[in-house]
C-alpha cells in the first residue's frame, strides 16, 4: 500500500520531548494536572446520584433525625440544649462517613479503563490522588455547610460567632481530608467500588458511632468509654463543640483527649496524613505498573 501523503504530517500539538523539565516547570504541570482532575472528579460527584445525595440529602436527613430522636430523651450532664450539643457531633459524623467517597471514586477509576488512559498521557501520576482528595474535600465543604445550615434552621446556636464556627468547621474538614487519604488506601486495596463501599462502611461506621458524636461518653460503661474517649472522632466532635461555644460535657472528664480536643484532633489529622499519603502513593504505583 502506498502512503500517499494527502495532508502532510503536522507538528504534534503538545511539545514532544521537552528538554529535561525544571523542578519549577514540573510543579506547575503537577498543579495543572491536579486542577484538571479535581474539576473532573467534581463533575462525577454531581452526576453520581449516590455521591451527590451523600453530600446533600444525607446531612439534612441525619441532622434532623438525630436531633429530634435522641434529643427527645437526652438530658445532658451539666445541662445545656441537645441541639447545641449535637451539631458538632453530627458535623463530625457526616464528614467521617463522607470520606468513604474517596475509596469508592478511586476504586471505580481503577476498575474502569480511565486510569489506563491517564497512564498513556504525559501527566503526573500523583495528580490522580491529589485531584481525588481535593474534589472530595470540596464535596466535604458542601456537606459540612449543609449540616450547619440545617442545624441553624432547627435551632442550633453557636456562642463563639462566625470565627468560632469557621474554626470548628476547619478542624473537622482537615480531619475529613486526612480520612479521605486513609480511605484512598482502602480504595487502592480492593478490586471494585462495591467492595470499597463495604470495607469502608465496616471500618468507618463503628469509628463514627463509638464516639461522643451523639451522646456524651460520660454515661458509657467504662471499657467502651475508654475507646470512645481516645477515638479521634470524639476529639474532633469535642473540638467543634469547644470552638463553636456549645456544651461539651466530655470536656469535664479528666483525660488528655477530652481536655485538649483541638490539639488532639490536629495531631491525629497530621499523623493520618503522614502515614496515608506515602502509603496511598506507593499503593497506586504498585497498582499501575503490573
Amino acid at each position: 500500500m502506498s502512503t500517499a501523503v494527502l495532508d502532510p504530517p503536522r507538528a504534534p500539538l503538545a511539545a514532544p520531548a521537552a528538554p529535561a523539565p525544571t523542578r519549577h516547570h514540573r510543579l506547575r504541570e503537577w498543579r495543572r494536572d491536579t486542577t484538571v482532575l479535581t474539576r473532573r472528579n467534581l463533575l462525577h460527584v454531581r452526576r453520581e446520584p449516590a455521591q451527590w445525595s451523600d453530600a446533600t440529602v444525607q446531612p439534612v436527613l441525619f441532622t434532623v433525625l438525630f436531633v429530634y430522636i435522641f434529643g427527645a430523651a437526652m438530658v445532658l450532664p451539666g445541662g445545656g440544649s441537645y441541639k447545641d450539643f449535637a451539631i458538632g457531633g453530627l458535623l463530625t459524623m457526616n464528614l467521617t462517613t463522607a470520606s468513604m467517597g474517596t475509596a469508592v471514586g478511586l476504586s471505580s477509576d481503577l476498575a474502569t479503563g480511565v486510569v489506563n488512559r491517564f497512564r498513556t498521557l504525559p501527566m503526573a501520576r500523583s495528580a490522580i490522588l491529589a485531584g481525588r482528595s481535593l474534589a472530595d474535600l470540596l464535596a466535604a465543604v458542601l456537606c459540612g455547610s449543609i449540616v450547619l445550615a440545617t442545624g441553624w434552621v432547627i435551632g442550633w446556636r453557636p456562642d463563639n460567632g462566625v470565627t468560632g464556627v469557621a474554626a470548628g468547621l476547619g478542624v473537622a474538614l482537615a480531619f475529613s481530608y486526612a480520612l479521605s487519604w486513609f480511605t484512598a488506601c482502602i480504595g487502592l486495596m480492593v478490586s471494585d467500588p462495591e467492595s470499597a463501599q463495604a470495607v469502608g462502611l465496616v471500618i468507618l461506621f463503628p469509628v463514627a458511632f463509638v464516639s461522643s458524636c451523639f451522646v456524651p461518653t460520660n454515661g458509657m460503661p467504662s471499657w467502651l468509654r475508654m475507646i470512645a474517649d481516645w477515638n479521634p472522632v470524639s476529639a474532633v466532635a469535642g473540638a467543634c463543640r469547644d470552638l463553636f461555644g456549645n456544651p461539651n460535657p466530655t470536656g469535664a472528664v479528666h483525660n488528655f483527649p477530652n481536655q485538649h480536643p483541638v490539639l488532639v484532633s490536629l495531631v491525629w489529622t497530621a499523623a493520618i496524613l503522614a502515614v496515608c499519603i506515602p502509603l496511598a502513593s506507593r499503593m497506586l504505583r504498585a497498582r499501575t505498573v503490573d
Partner: protein
C-alpha cells in the same frame, strides 16, 4: 519509528511475550496478527510504557520506552482493547480532559475536541454522557481521544474487536485516513482480513513469539501462492500436457486423472486460456476453481492451528 528487540514479559511462570522483534518505519502500518493470548496486547503495553519489559529493548521515535518513558508518552496515542473513557463525562468533556492532561491550553483542547468529534461523526452526541453511547461510538471516541495531541505514532490494540460490520468498516476508513496523514501505526488484530486490508507489513505472533513477518503477499506466497484446480468430465491422459505451457509449475494429476491441480501466475484471461487449451485437446471441463490463499491459510500453515478460536486466555491486563 517503532523498534522492538527481544521484548520479553513474564507473569509469574507464564511467559506472555518471549523475545519479540519488530520494526515499523515512519509513516507505515504494521499489523501484529495473532490469536487471543498470543501476547499482542502485552507487547503494545510495553511499547506504550504501561508496563516495563523483563528483557529486551524498545524505542519509539528514537526514545527508549523505559529510560525516556515520559518523553515517549508525549509522542504516542494509544487506543486499547477496552475503551478507556470516562462514562460520566460527555464526549466533549472526555476529549478536553485528555487534551488538558496532555498540556494543551484549555482553549486549544476545546477546539481540538470539537474538530475530532466532527470528524468522527460524534458531534450530535458530543453533549451526552458516554454511558449512553453505543459500542461503535465508544470506539470512535476512544480513537479520537488518542488523537487529541496529533501524535506522530499511534498504537491501536484490536480496534474493531466486537464491533458490527458497519462500525468496523467505519473504523477502517478512519484508520486509513490517519495513515494518509502520515501517522506511523502499529495495529494489533486477530482478524486476518483486517491485517490484510490495512497493514503494509504483518508480523504474526503466536504464544509470545514472532513466527513470521513480511507483507501480505509475501506471507501468502509461503503457502504456495495461487493455484487452479480443474475438474474434468472424465479421466484424460492428454489433459495435463495441454495446460502445462500455461501454468507456473508442475501439473498434479489427482482422483485417477479426473482432477488437475497446478500453481499459476494469475493474469487476465488465464482461465479462458486454460479452458480453450483443454477444449482444443478435446477434454470436457466440469469445473475450474482459482484458489487465492488467505491469511487463514497462512496462519494454519505457520502454526498448525486456526487463528480465530481462542486458544489461550488473554494475559490479565
Amino acid at each position: 519509528m517503532i523498534e522492538a528487540s527481544g521484548l520479553t514479559k513474564r507473569y509469574g511462570d507464564q511467559v506472555a511475550v518471549d523475545g519479540v522483534d519488530l520494526v515499523v518505519p515512519a509513516g507505515r502500518i504494521l499489523g501484529v496478527l495473532g490469536p487471543n493470548g498470543a501476547g499482542k496486547s502485552t507487547t503494545v503495553r510495553m511499547l506504550t510504557t504501561m508496563t516495563a519489559p523483563d528483557a529486551g529493548t524498545g524505542r519509539v521515535g528514537g526514545l527508549d520506552i523505559v529510560a525516556d518513558a515520559g518523553a515517549v508518552r508525549r509522542i504516542i496515542g494509544v487506543t486499547g482493547q477496552d475503551a478507556s473513557l470516562d462514562e460520566l463525562l460527555t464526549g466533549t468533556q472526555n476529549l478536553v480532559l485528555v487534551g488538558e492532561l496532555a498540556k494543551l491550553p484549555r482553549r486549544q483542547a476545546r477546539s481540538r475536541a470539537a474538530e475530532l468529534l466532527e470528524r468522527f461523526e460524534l458531534s450530535d452526541a458530543a453533549g451526552r454522557m458516554v454511558k449512553t453511547y453505543s459500542g461503535g461510538m465508544r470506539r470512535r471516541l476512544d480513537l479520537a481521544a488518542s488523537l487529541v495531541t496529533r501524535p506522530p505514532v499511534l498504537f491501536l490494540d484490536e480496534p474493531t474487536t466486537g464491533l458490527d460490520p458497519t462500525s468496523r468498516q467505519r473504523m477502517w476508513d478512519l484508520i486509513r485516513g490517519l495513515v494518509a496523514e502520515g501517522t506511523t501505526l502499529l495495529l494489533t488484530t486477530q482478524y486476518l482480513d483486517e491485517a490484510d486490508e490495512l497493514a503494509d507489513e504483518i508480523t504474526v505472533i503466536d504464544r509470545g513469539t514472532v513466527i513470521a513477518a513480511g507483507t501480505a503477499p509475501e506471507l501468502k506466497s509461503r503457502v504456495g501462492g495461487e493455484h487452479v484446480e480443474i475438474t474434468l468430465a472424465g479421466p484424460d491422459a492428454g489433459a495435463a500436457g495441454a495446460i502445462a505451457p500455461l501454468v507456473a509449475g508442475t501439473v498434479q494429476v489427482l482422483d485417477g486423472g479426473r482432477r488437475l491441480r497446478a500453481p499459476v501466475a494469475l493474469r487476465d484471461g488465464l482461465v479462458t486460456a486454460l479452458v480453450r487449451a483443454l477444449d482444443g485437446a478435446a477434454v470436457a471441463v466440469n469445473d475450474v476453481e482459482v484458489h487465492r490463499p488467505s491469511l487463514d491459510d497462512v496462519f494454519f500453515a505457520l502454526t498448525g492451528h486456526d487463528a480465530e478460536p481462542a486458544a489461550l486466555e488473554e494475559v490479565p491486563a
